[in-house]
Amino acid sequence: MKRFEIVDTPINPQAYSDLVLHPAAGAVTVFTGHVREWTHGVRTLYLAYEAYIPMAEKKLAEIGAEMEEKWPGVQVAIAHRIGELKISDIAVVIAVSSPHRKEAYEANEYAIERIKEIVPIWKKEIWEDGEQWIGAQKKYPEKGSGSQ
């Protein structure tokens, strides 16, 4: 088990929370993103996630490093699941520990925003009458070309 990983089996949030807990930590925030049944009035049957695994793990670790620089004292673990996920399954877990609570909340929310921006993972929604790869990338990665 790694602090920043792509997995293809069910995610146990407690395992990631345990990774970041230490005697100086007064606060731990754990975010889990779950497969939602209804999105914009359309019923999802299940989701399929795909990742460019080595790059995705590297980008997750980069996000962790960004967080530790922005909020000194936080510790971070992130996992994203790939493969077929059914309703309520956990797609992503972000565990953040901090001496104080404010940083644990802020850093955690930062992580999910960054994951949605730069980590090469893709989601396909499968409905009763069709399916589609989702791509809502608004901001381009910092190192990417602005014109692409």
Binding site: H80, K116, W122, K123
Partner: protein
């Protein structure tokens, strides 16, 4: 020889997860142009290229031995 990876929509469009290009070097922009010509509907305007697992700029030069990946808009989380 340059390795290129395809994911998600692009994997389905091209019908393959990866392939090798017999080129000594080319720019990221040239790689995107090649893909657009080879696979109609590729949609290069929305696609980034990663070279050796790092996002690359259009003017960056890809060398033989590099591992590239086309990165369509991401949707993790």
């Amino acid at each position: 020889m340059i390795t290129v990876h395809y994911f998600a929509r692009l994997r389905e469009l091209t019908g393959k997860g990866e392939e090798s290009l017999d080129r000594a070097s080319l720019t990221v922009e040239e790689l995107l142009d090649w893909a657009e010509e080879t696979y109609p509907g590729f949609g290069k305007e929305t696609i980034h290229v990663a070279v050796n697992e790092e996002y690359a700029r259009k003017e960056d030069v890809i060398q033989s031995g590099d591992v590239c990946a086309f990165i369509p808009p991401v949707s993790g989380g």
